[in-house]
């Protein structure tokens, strides 16, 4: 990351950054407390992706030097294409990029946890959706959809979310 951006982030934290920082923290916990059951390919990194570079900039600061299992956690800005998404274990679609997500017709994406923050995101192909309750970040989750993508989330985390069955 350019040094200037780093400085800006640490000097003045605005509200969007805080919200994204918290959401990045949640994504890290979702990753830590889930199992990717279909492990055909040996991974060297654990990759958190988003098409939104603003989010990725915040997430990379928050998640510096973190690991998921034994794998170093990387953050990447990606385009929403089958090819580009192959490298991702977690994909976060922000409300600014949800139109790109809706416009793409990718079909079933296996082995990728798909998280969003827009209304109806789970109905639109996501597994988890963030929402705000009294200014705090909470989430709704569909364990069935996660399972269909070969991901199992620990009950410790599921219990904290609002479970939706679709």
């Amino acid at each position: 990351m350019p040094l200037a951006l780093l400085l800006t982030l640490s000097q003045s934290v605005n509200a969007i950054d805080t919200e994204y920082a918290l959401k990045a923290g949640f994504l890290y916990n979702f990753a830590r407390y889930s199992t990717w059951t279909d492990t055909n390919t040996a991974l060297t990194d654990f990759v958190l992706c988003s098409p939104d570079s603003t989010f990725v900039a915040v997430a990379s600061t928050v998640l510096t030097n973190r690991k998921v299992g034994n794998l170093p956690l990387l953050t990447k800005t990606v385009s929403i294409t089958q090819d580009d998404l192959k490298q991702c274990q977690v994909l976060f679609i922000t409300s600014a990029t949800v139109d790109l997500w809706l416009a793409s017709s990718l079909g079933q994406l296996n082995n990728i946890m798909i998280v969003g923050e827009s209304e109806d995101f789970i109905a639109n192909g996501g597994h988890i959706r963030f929402f705000l309750s009294s200014g705090k970040v909470r989430f709704a989750v569909s364990p069935d959809k996660l399972n269909a993508a070969h991901i199992t989330m620990s009950s410790k985390v599921l219990r904290l979310g609002r479970v939706v069955d679709l």
Binding site: L9, S10, Q11, S12, V13, N14, A15, I16, D17, T18, E19, A21, L22, G25, F26, Y28, N29, V58, T61, V62, L63, T64, R66, E117, E119, F131, L132, S133, S134, G135, K136, V137, R138, A140, V157, R159, L160, R162, V164
Partner: protein, 687 residues
């Protein structure tokens, strides 16, 4: 992340006096912490902020501490707060304050549940014994020692206690516990919570308690039993990310035994009684929050409180209705908060044997506005906070409570703050409007002549404590200073204050000596019977006046140590000295020249995977309560023997033996008892 820093920064509070947030790279990524954090940086009254950066003497009692301590009531939980004076009168009644002399009727501490005030303008009392909040569903308790006047209104001179309950989205499922022990026959709790479609959540809960009397009374056999039933509900709605709403209500029915004294006949003497009182306390509150943009939000809260009490000589009924609007926003380096509030009180109080009201104050109105700005003079280093609250009340008119604070953060792990503020305490109706019959004065104590006739000299003259509508609001100006530092495994929190209060309530004695002269005349004329009869028409007046001045100096120092994830400890020392300056022929209404010292230690140890040992020890050294100093140890052992089940054994007041904590009986009509050691067993289930 440094462990202790996490301990402190992870404790988020609703406080206005804070500097910029932590850099993102220091964010605590534990799920619990993330769930407690607020997305907004606008730091108004209802926004969570880091306790570390707060420019006031604040302590946050976390939900973990409340649960691990095995507290079974709110006052017991408050014993965990260093620097709070928490003194027990009997098994039900308490005197609690900070930076002051605690009284059963202590008017200077503002107590709230989720921002709803429990202040009663009649006595200025908080009925701690009927303040039922399920401890297992408390998010945290924030305690501000010292003046919190600005954002929370009047009568918060000594401090603010805000009990914040959990959002019902975080209390879904079944919780049940049952306790029994040497003082509690049974205490049982049940809660069920769940989702409402995918837009909201709810919980319903009930509580019942049956408690024993104390073992030993001071002058009468103890009668302080408890029978209490309580039920409540909370709904939270989140239609979208911009709007959220909550509605909650609670009703508590209590029958409590007590010993008390009062003057009920022509002997004019205090008589002691053993009796029980019935109280019904209900409350409802609703709040709507709106995030206008990432830089601004607003909140509207309305609440209703109803308290009815009935006992042989006192019938009281009190209702209050509150509506508050607050808005806060961020504009460049300026954070601005403003708000409006209105309160309506309805007080009906049957004329009783002890208390006569002059009337005319069955309803009281209160309204006001506040504005506060926080400006960064040097980004992330130096902030200045200026604000004022102006409020009107029916008794003393318009009152103004300004403050100025400065927060300096020379390094990320150090904060220095200083503040000057003025706060106001409006008189209670007892002080303003009522007449209270108190223990009679003997003729020889109050008259200029001693007759030598025993029946005359030792006659008790009817004595009144008279409220006075000339009484002014107490105004106190407080100069405060604080310093905090965190290191790898320890943290220091230091605060000191110098507070000068004027117009403090005192009691002026008017013996009305002229009234005795005709009686002596009758005696000289040999008309003994007429003289005796005339004596029954005499009275002595203790008039409430507001001409005392009290200077309080003091401070708190708290050292937190967390050498590992499984152990943390806290050591605290608090010191406050109270100096009364009184006009001739007056004496203080609450407290007197005194010094209170408190040494405090707390430790929390996780053993193996499923055991926990929590200990707290308080050394109370004070000459403000007319009792001996005492040292009390509370010890709790918990064992989570199954993923859904746990047991606990709690020992309270160990080593203190049978002791008296509060004996300023002049200030209260309740007669205290000896406080006993106790042991309680508890079984908890969560599904």
């Amino acid at each position: 992340m440094k462990i202790v820093k996490r301990l402190l920064l992870g404790t988020l509070i609703v406080s206005p006096y804070v500097i910029a947030q932590e850099p993102l790279s220091d964010l605590d990524l534990e799920l619990d912490s993330l769930m407690a954090m607020d997305v907004q940086v606008t730091s108004a009254m209802k926004r969570a902020q880091s306790a570390f950066d707060t420019a006031s003497s604040i302590y946050v009692l976390t939900k973990e501490q409340i649960i691990h301590s095995g507290a079974t009531s709110i006052p017991e939980a408050l014993k965990l707060v260093p620097g709070l004076a928490v003194r027990q009168l009997d098994n039900n009644q308490w005197a609690i304050t900070s930076r002051g002399v605690a009284s059963r009727f202590s008017a200077k501490l503002l107590v709230m549940i989720d921002g709803q005030s429990f202040y009663t303008p009649k006595f200025a009392a908080v009925y701690w014994e009927t303040l039922n909040v399920p401890l297992y569903d408390i998010e945290r308790i924030e305690v501000i020692r010292g003046q919190g006047g600005l954002l929370w209104g009047s009568n918060a001179n000594n401090g603010v206690i805000n009990i914040i309950t959990k959002n019902s989205i975080d209390t879904r499922g079944v919780y049940a516990d049952i306790s029994s022990g040497s003082l509690i026959n049974h205490d049982a709790n049940l809660r069920y919570g769940g989702d409402i479609a995918n837009k909201g959540s709810f919980r319903v809960y009930g509580h019942t308690r049956d408690g024993d009397e104390s073992d030993k009374g001071i002058s009468l056999e103890p009668a302080d039993f408890t029978e209490q039933q309580s039920a409540g509900v909370r709904f939270d709605f989140t239609p979208n990310d911009e709007w959220s709403a909550l509605i909650q209500g609670n009703i508590t029915q209590s029958t409590l035994g007590q010993n008390f004294r009062g003057v009920i006949d022509e002997t004019n003497r205090n008589m002691s009684f053993t009796d029980s009182l019935d109280r019904t306390d209900s409350r409802i509150m609703a709040r709507v929050e709106n995030r206008i943009s990432s830089q601004a939000n607003q909140m509207l809260q309305t609440s209703w409180l109803k308290q009815s009490g009935s006992q042989t000589f006192l019938q009281e009924h009190f209702e209050s209705f509150d509506i508050d609007y607050q808005m806060n926003f961020l504009y460049n380096d300026l954070k601005l908060d403003w708000g409006l509030n209105y309160r309506y009180n309805d007080i009906s109080f049957a004329q009783s044997s002890f208390v006569h009201s002059d009337g005319g104050y069955n309803t009281l109105h209160q309204y006001g506005a506040l504005v506060q700005g926080q400006y960064s003079l040097i980004a992330d280093k130096l902030d200045i906070i200026l604000g004022s609250k102006i409020e009107y009340n029916d008794l003393t008119g318009w009152e103004n409570q300004p403050l100025a604070r400065l927060v300096w953060k020379p390094q990320n792990n150090q904060v220095l703050w200083t503040s000057v503020s003025k706060s106001v305490r409006v008189p209670s109706l007892i002080e303003f409007n009522d007449n209270y019959i108190i223990d009679g004065q003997r003729v020889e104590e109050v008259s200029p002549i001693v007759t030598g006739i025993d029946a005359i000299d030792n006659y008790y003259v009817r004595t009144y404590l008279n409220g006075n509508d000339k009484v002014k609001s107490e105004e106190s100006v407080s100069y405060e200073f604080g310093y905090r530092q965190t290191q790898h495994d320890w943290a220091l929190d230091l605060s000191a204050h110098h507070t000068i209060a004027k117009n403090v309530i005192a009691i002026s004695v008017d013996n009305n000596i002229e009234q005795f002269l005709p009686i002596f005349g009758l005696l000289q004329a040999g008309q003994y019977d007429l003289a005796m009869q005339s004596l029954t028409n005499t009275s002595v007046n203790f008039d409430i006046v507001s001409n005392a001045k009290v200077t309080t100096n003091g401070g708190d120092i708290i050292l937190t140590w967390q050498p590992s994830e499984i152990f943390n400890a806290e050591l605290g020392y608090s010191y406050n000295t109270f100096d009364y300056k009184l006009a001739d022929n007056t004496f203080p209404a609450i407290g007197y020249d005194s010094t209170s010292r408190q040494l405090f230690a707390k430790s929390n140890l996780a053993l193996f995977d499923d055991h926990r040992l929590f200990a707290s020890i308080r050394v109370e050294n004070s000459n403000a309560y007319n009792v001996d100093n005492y040292t009390a140890l509370d010890l709790t052992w918990q064992w989570a023997f199954h993923q859904n089940w746990s047991v606990a054994v709690m020992g309270k007041n160990l080593f203190a033996g049978s002791h008296i904590e509060y004996n300023n009986t002049r200030e209260t009509y309740t007669l205290p008892n000896y406080i006993d050691e106790s042991v309680t067993f508890k079984l908890t289930a969560k599904f």
